[in-house]
Amino acid sequence: MLTPEEYRQAQDSPEFTELRRRFRRFAFPMTVAFFVWYLLYVLLSTYADDFMAKKVFGDVNVGILLGLAQFVTTFLITQLYVRHAGRNTDPISDEMRNRLEQHEYAREKPAAGEDTTQGATRA
């Protein structure tokens, strides 16, 4: 069990700042991007039906193609995230977890027998 002090030390460490930055740098802009793109698609389908009904080839129209493009981008973002996490966040996260388990973030020795368990969120 880690002390609140250890968590604070870990949170303030440069490697954690980097981990958080790397996580957010991908997750936040990507969330905005797919959300805007989805909203755009919904709004086009709702208010620009003439445009969406334009035939591109055969009986396939813009609406169907943009809808299928939503599937493609969803799959693409999924795989991009897996790659990003594997390359950029997992290594820091794994290393920090190991160091936390060794109590390397404790400035002072953790007080023996001190119980920091609060609430039911801890086992």
Binding site: F34, T46, G63, T74, S93, G119
Partner: protein, 546 residues
């Protein structure tokens, strides 16, 4: 084309196919899953076993189970039917249901796995005052589960007329009771592990069945999407009420209100998934956050591919069966996929699809019941009522009792909803709207906003929940419309059927307002712990060794 089907669908009490085959295939599914459930029950010793399958489910298995949990009868029968009748507008549903998974993947799944134990409230109450936040989270969990459960249960009752050859309110009620009883057995005996296996089997059957139908339909059109779309449009124009099934607007384009209603629904769909408690609970069944990531990746691919199949099945039903025949069949819009199965492969394929449809309902309701009972036992009973002072396994005992009670309640409400003719798709949409309004804002604030306080969480959860349910109460869904629950009275003043466009931003706003107005300081120690645990996985619950 419809006349060559060789069956009379105009009579209200008619069924298609051979009920004996349908029942046999469904019975086989029940038998196999019951055996597996009883075998799974041997390892149900601790709370982690019962609620989270000992956290021993692999990422791949969990991805299948998530697909099994998520692809409800509304997804399978409802979307295919909506595409068959309204074409493009039905397709829009499936896109919202799929894109929504990116919220879960990018922002929620791994962080949740690292910080919580069993329920959504675990993470929401992590750095807040425990009891009020747990209570609020439990109430909204129960609300979402109940709306969803009632939808599935009454859907099961509606299906039987079409598939099993039973008619009449009593017989439909009997089927709802049977589904409810089976669901209770799965949850009571098998716990989360049993439920997981049921969902894995169901997802495999569902995706395999949809694949067969997709290839079959495409084969009829020379594996050319354009010809299929052309066929669907041609049949649609020959119906008594021709609609343009290739362009948007057939279902929602009528008025400015219905257009806004659609945007509102789209918002609830994309933001609701990552706030559905039964989806969140599945993330706790894997050993690590990396497995949680892997399971969402699997789920996204499986669910996406399934919805692509639905597109072909829906347009295939529109082209080969036709909107008139689907609307006239018992089950109406929900009968599109079964009718197409009969058209393609006769009684055997219909029997398989019918069996799969029932399996679908069973797996989803089991997942909902275990989530609702876990939330009551873990959050309300153990934390709020007993203040954490519960004997070992007392919590699981309460969860088991709760699952029976919730099963009974949902059987009762399901029968009532069925007899009131409540629209299933609407109930599911409502569950998504509540999840998006009451749950998601608080989840995101908790994980990412340092200053967020207990008051902010409570305002956001209760505000979102009350706004959502309240607006529905005063919408044309409940009164003042021929299709309303109470068509003879009119106390409606909110014009939209989907409240999301108001209630979701309102909940985000209330979470912010409650926080900036609160007198208490945020617990920065707990936020440090939450953040470090969420991103590094230190202190995360470990898998149970057997």
């Amino acid at each position: 084309m419809p006349d060559t089907l060789g069956l009379d669908v105009t009579a209200a009490d008619s069924t298609i196919g051979e009920p004996a085959i349908n029942i046999a295939i469904f019975g086989a599914f029940v038998l196999v899953t019951l055996v597996i459930t009883f075998r799974a029950s041997r390892n149900n010793k601790t709370a982690a076993d019962y609620y989270a399958a000992g956290r021993n489910i692999s990422g791949t298995q969990n991805g299948l189970a998530i697909a099994g949990d998520y692809l409800s009868a509304a997804s399978f029968l409802g979307i295919a039917g909506a595409i068959a009748l309204y074409g493009y507008d039905g397709f829009l549903y499936s896109i919202g249901f799929l894109v929504a998974w990116l919220v879960a993947l990018l922002l929620v799944a791994e962080l949740l796995r690292n910080t919580a134990r069993f329920t959504m409230a675990d993470v929401l109450a992590f750095r807040m005052r425990q009891r009020p936040v747990r209570m609020a989270a439990a109430i909204s969990t129960l609300a979402v589960c109940l709306f969803y459960l009632v939808a599935q249960m009454s859907g099961a009752g509606g299906l039987v007329t079409l598939l099993l050859g039973v008619t009449g309110e009593a017989a439909q009620a009997l089927v709802v009771i049977l589904v409810g009883a089976l669901m209770i057995i799965y949850v009571l005996v098998g716990g989360m592990r049993g439920t997981t296996y049921v969902q894995i089997i169901k997802a495999s059957l569902l995706i395999a069945g949809a694949l067969v139908m997709t290839v079959w339909v495409l084969g009829k059109y020379g594996f050319n999407l354009s010809s299929l779309l052309g066929g669907a449009e041609e049949t649609a124009q020959a119906q008594t009420a021709p609609v343009d099934v290739l362009a948007p607007g057939a279902q929602y384009g009528a008025t400015a209100t219905s257009q806004l209603d659609f945007v509102s629904l789209g918002l609830a769909l994309v933001l609701g998934t990552a706030g559905l408690p039964h989806v969140l609970m599945r993330f706790y069944t894997v050993p690590t956050a990396k497995d949680a990531r892997k399971s969402v990746v699997w789920a996204i691919w499986l669910i996406g591919i399934f919805y692509l199949f639905s597109l072909v099945i829906g347009y295939g039903a529109g082209a080969l069966v036709g909107a008139d025949e689907i609307s006239a069949a018992p089950g109406a819009v929900n009968s599109a996929a079964p009718l197409l199965a009969f058209e393609l492969g006769g009684t055997v394929l219909l029997g398989i699809i019918a069996g799969v449809a029932f399996a679908t309902i069973l797996a989803v309701v089991a997942g909902l019941t275990i989530t609702a009972s876990a939330s009551f036992a873990h959050d309300v009973y153990a934390s709020v009522i007993k203040k954490g002072d519960v004997p070992p396994n007392g919590e699981v005992r309460v969860a088991r009792i709760t699952s029976v009670v919730i099963g009974a309640i949902s059987i009762g409400l399901g029968i009532l909803a069925l007899q009131a003719g409540l629209n299933i798709a609407f109930l599911v949409a409502l569950a998504f709207a509540v999840a998006a309004s009451a749950n998601l804002p608080t989840i995101l604030y908790t994980l990412f906003w340092k200053r967020f306080t207990t008051q902010g969480a409570l305002w956001s959860i209760y505000g979102g929940l009350i706004a959502c349910v309240g607006l529905i109460l005063f919408s044309p869904v409940v009164s003042g419309d021929p299709t309303a629950l109470f068509p003879d009275v009119d106390f409606s003043w909110f014009p939209l059927k989907n409240p999301g466009i108001i209630s979701i931003p309102l909940s985000f706003f209330l979470g912010w307002l409650g926080t900036v107005l609160s007198k208490e300081e945020p617990d920065t120690d707990k936020y440090a712990e939450l953040e470090v645990r969420a991103l590094t996985g230190i202190g995360a619950e470990k898998a149970v060794e057997h």
